[in-house]
């Protein structure tokens, strides 16, 4: 019992630390690594509760595949530097977000701690946990009998997801947006043109000539890569 308590406290601390790291660190690589910590902590907690198979796939799928995928994308896109998120452009977004988070936490705790009986009600009788043999056998038995349709549908879902990912990341030469409808291009284009104009102004300021930036210049400039 003491061992389990100790394990819980340690893994819980790692989980919380990792979670806070994901939210608070500025470098996406650090965020991803913090996420790994949380995932590991959760895996340990699974072991602590006897869900060995789930702990294994938690490590293999999450830490091994998903987080690696994240890191892959980060490296691929070259965004592995610190992003400046100090200035919040949306008024009241941060306080409201924190308030909402606290409200969710508070309400959940109230529900958990004050409920005289369990929130989920009575025991379901799918299959008991404490059977002889490894738990993966019992899980497989349920998955391939009672949940066989759901299982097959998730298989289809995975296939569709793979196809979708391939289609999405295919390179195309078409402009991203309809330039007839948005002649100014995307937000990025507008911002870039404004920056260019500003830079141009600074250059021209010496010659005391105010140049009119050619905003109509090349709307496709930012649309292509």
């Amino acid at each position: 019992m003491r061992v389990e308590m100790f394990t819980f406290l340690l893994a819980g601390a790692i989980c919380l630390g990792g979670a806070l790291g994901v939210v608070l660190l500025k470098n996406p690589v650090h965020n991803a690594l913090s996420l790994v910590a949380t995932l590991f902590g959760v895996a340990v907690l699974f072991v602590n509760q006897g869900a060995y198979f789930l702990a294994a796939i938690q490590v293999i799928v999450y830490a091994g595949a998903i987080v690696i995928l994240f890191l892959f994308v980060i490296m691929l896109l070259g965004v592995d530097r610190e992003t400046d998120e100090g200035r919040e452009p949306l008024v009241a977004q941060r306080p409201l977000a924190v308030a909402t988070g606290l409200a969710i936490l508070g309400l959940s705790l109230v529900a958990l701690l004050s409920a005289g009986q369990r929130a989920t009600g009575d025991k379901a009788d799918l299959a008991p946990l404490n059977q002889p043999g490894p738990d993966i056998n019992h899980l497989a038995e349920v998955l391939f009998t009672r949940y066989v349709y759901a299982f097959e549908i998730t298989a289809v879902l995975l296939t569709v997801a793979v196809v979708g990912a391939v289609v999405l990341s295919k390179r195309t030469n078409e402009p991203l947006i309809d330039l007839d409808e948005f002649p100014e291009g995307t937000v990025v284009d507008v911002r870039r043109r404004a920056d260019d104009a500003k830079a141009q102004d600074e250059v021209d300021a010496d010659a005391e000539v105010v140049a009119v930036p050619d905003t109509e210049g090349d709307p496709q400039e930012g649309g292509d890569d």
Binding site: L90, Q93, L96, T100, S108, A111, S114, A115
Partner: protein, 653 residues
């Protein structure tokens, strides 16, 4: 011989063919073709008639559904025809008299630049009229109803280069629209209450109607009928409709279209039977119309206007019969009136034709010398309408009056007295017309009666100039019309003379029409006992003779100054038309402008306001749609919190 659909299809085929090829057929080819189509339709009607006769008495109804016209939810209307005694009777005289008038028109319209177009309209009219009577539901009847209205408009303003003719057409159309409004509302009401617009389905359902609903339906249909059949208060269009060519006046405004209202109410006799006091309204409106129009007729100088007012007056008789539940008498009078009034109109057309399109009777006189056939046939028509036995008008009018005398209608004796007064006036004005036209001096030879005759009656300005070529010179010699015009006159004269045989009041076996129509009509009326009927008939004949002798004294023997009888108030038909004009021009116009304003500001304003408000609201709300994912996320989170809070409070409770 059950191809009922052929009856309206043949004139329709004629219409379509003439629209395309009319000019190629030319004059008189187009007219002959059109007449043949209507003639064939008449033969088809005869075939169906014979087939009906061969059936047992109670089964004499052929219902033929061609295809579904409208199917919307439980609302189903089919293109179907119902050939039963009533509709086939109507068809017989529509196609029969229609064919004669077509033949007549070939002669009358000779040389007109729009010769073929005239027959296009005429054929379309006959097709619409047949659709009206043969349609097995109210909607199809309404289609024909509107069709004849449109044709009437086209034909009244046939010579539309004269603005007077064009406005007469418009007047007819607009006045009829007022009535059509009633027809439509009544149809809606029938649909809502009975769930069908098919006549054969209405018939068994009608007794289940609430008295109030039936009364409302009947009154609304009667409003439609007052428009189409020129009754008070909507009769004003008919006298003006005389601007059209004379065959049109004969076909549309005497023989067929104007009887549509009578047909409609007769067809709906199952509803009328439940309608309570609506019948009294019909009877009284009919009687008053008859009186008003008969008074107006004695002071007209235009030969066709006399006949126009006479038509209004005779239609009043028919409604009087309908209102007293004497449907058989109404249909009887419709038939006899169709024959003798068509005869009179065509006769007057012959006169007008002979007198270089002069219509003012004050310039006629002694025409019997020049137009022997027209004169002889006109005499038959005159005696028939005046009610002299044994000609047809006497029998039908007599049956109506006998029915009124014994009816349970409110104030039936007063109605009877009005009817007798109208009979007197009818005999009077018809005799006046005959004397002015065919007897006396040859007035057009007097130079002092100038082309416009203003000095005779300063108030008389409404002599309708039929044609633009209008030069009646003192040395004019009238000539009899061609055979194509006189032949129909002779045939119609024969019909007008013997049509009374259809329903003689001497015992049941002789009442052919009554037996024939019995399965179709719902409605009971009792005729007075035989000796009362005989007395009434004697009275009617006496009244007619008094009317004739009176007119003879005034216009032939000249014992009384005509001006004393032809009061301006009669010449202007009690100023009803003028009152409408004044009202519509003054307060009416302002009222309509207010309505238009209301429509633009309030009704349109509400619609536009809702649209504008929605746009404005959308413009405000679109600010919420920031396109920023995190804003949406925050919204979702707040929603989740709300849900969670709800669940937690539920658990706590």
């Amino acid at each position: 011989m059950t191809a009922v659909w052929l009856i309206p299809a043949l004139p329709l085929l004629g219409f379509v063919t003439l629209v395309v090829l009319g000019r190629k057929f030319g004059d008189p080819g187009a007219g002959i073709f059109a007449a043949c189509m209507v003639g064939l339709s008449f033969l088809g009607t005869l075939g169906v008639f014979a087939h009906l006769l061969s059936l047992p008495h109670e089964e004499r109804a052929i219902s033929q559904t061609l295809f579904t016209w409208i199917s919307s939810g439980s609302f189903k209307v089919s293109i179907g025809f119902l050939a039963d005694p009533l509709s086939i009777t109507m068809c017989l005289f529509i196609t029969g008299i229609g064919a004669l008038i077509h033949i007549y028109s070939v002669g009358y319209m000779k040389g007109d630049p729009k010769f073929s177009k005239f027959f296009v309209y005429l054929n379309l009219f006959v097709a619409s009229m047949l659709l009206l009577v043969l349609g097995d539901n109210l909607l199809l009847t309404f289609l024909g109803w509107e069709g004849v209205g449109a044709c009437s408009y086209l034909l009244i303003s046939f010579w539309f280069t004269d603005p007077k003719n064009a406005s007469a057409g418009k007047k007819a159309f607009v006045t009829n629209r007022v009535g059509d409004f009633g027809f439509m509302l009544a149809t809606f009401l029938v649909w809502v209450t009975l769930g069908t617009v098919n006549y054969e389905q209405i018939r068994p359902l009608a007794p289940g109607l609430a008295a109030g609903t039936a009364t409302a339906i009947a009154l609304l249909f009667f409003l439609g009928a007052t428009g189409k059949s020129a009754q008070l208060p909507l009769f004003v269009w008919l006298p003006d409709a005389m601007a059209g060519p004379t065959p049109v006046s004969a076909l549309i405004h005497a023989a067929t279209m104007v009887t549509a209202g009578v047909y409609l109410l007769t067809r709906l006799s199952p509803i009328m039977a439940e309608a309570g006091w609506a019948n009294d309204v019909v009877a009284w409106v009919g009687a008053l119309t008859a009186l008003v129009a008969a008074c107006a007729a004695i002071a007209q100088n235009d030969i066709k206007k006399v006949l126009a007012y006479s038509t209004v007056s005779q239609l009043g008789y028919m409604f009087l019969a309908v209102g007293t539940q004497s449907y058989v008498a109404a249909v009887f009078h419709m038939i006899t009136h169709a024959s003798f009034k068509a005869l009179l109109f065509l006769g007057s057309g012959s006169v007008i034709h002979a007198m270089a399109h002069e219509q003012d009777m004050r310039k006629y006189g002694n025409l019997r010398k020049y137009l022997p056939i027209t004169y002889a046939t006109f005499m038959v028509g005159w005696l028939a309408i005046a009610g002299i036995p044994p000609l047809s008008g006497f029998w039908s009018k007599d049956e109506i009056l006998a029915g009124v005398f014994n009816a349970k209608t409110f104030g039936n004796l007063a109605l009877w007295v009005i009817g007798m007064a109208v009979a007197l006036l009818t005999a009077f004005y018809m005799t006046r017309q005959v004397i002015m036209t065919f007897f006396g001096e040859e007035k057009w030879r007097h130079a002092e009666v100038d082309a416009h005759g203003h000095e005779l009656h300063a108030d008389e300005e409404d002599a309708v100039d039929d044609h633009d070529h209008h030069h009646l010179t003192p040395d004019h010699t009238p000539h009899e019309s061609p055979i194509s015009m006189t032949l129909p006159l002779v045939v119609l004269a024969g019909a007008a003379a013997v049509a009374g045989l259809l329903n003689l009041p001497f015992g049941d076996p002789l009442k052919f029409l009554e037996h024939w129509l019995e399965p179709t009509i719902v409605g009971e009326h009792e005729l007075p006992p035989g000796w009362v009927q005989a007395l009434l008939s004697l009275a009617a004949v006496a009244v007619a003779v008094i009317g004739i002798l009176g007119a003879r004294a005034v216009y032939f023997q000249k014992k009384v100054d005509p001006a004393k009888i032809e009061k301006p108030v009669f010449a202007h038909a009690w100023y009803i038309d003028e009152t409408y004009a004044k009202f519509m021009g003054g307060p009416g116009e302002t009222a309509f402008e207010d309505v238009a304003q209301f429509d633009q500001k309030i009704v349109d304003g509400a619609v536009n306001g809702i649209a504008g408000g929605t746009v404005g609201l959308g413009n405000r709300l679109k600010g919420l749609q920031t396109g920023l994912v995190r804003t949406y996320g925050l919204g979702m989170a707040i929603g989740a919190v709300a849900l969670l809070a709800y669940v937690v409070t539920r658990i706590g409770g």
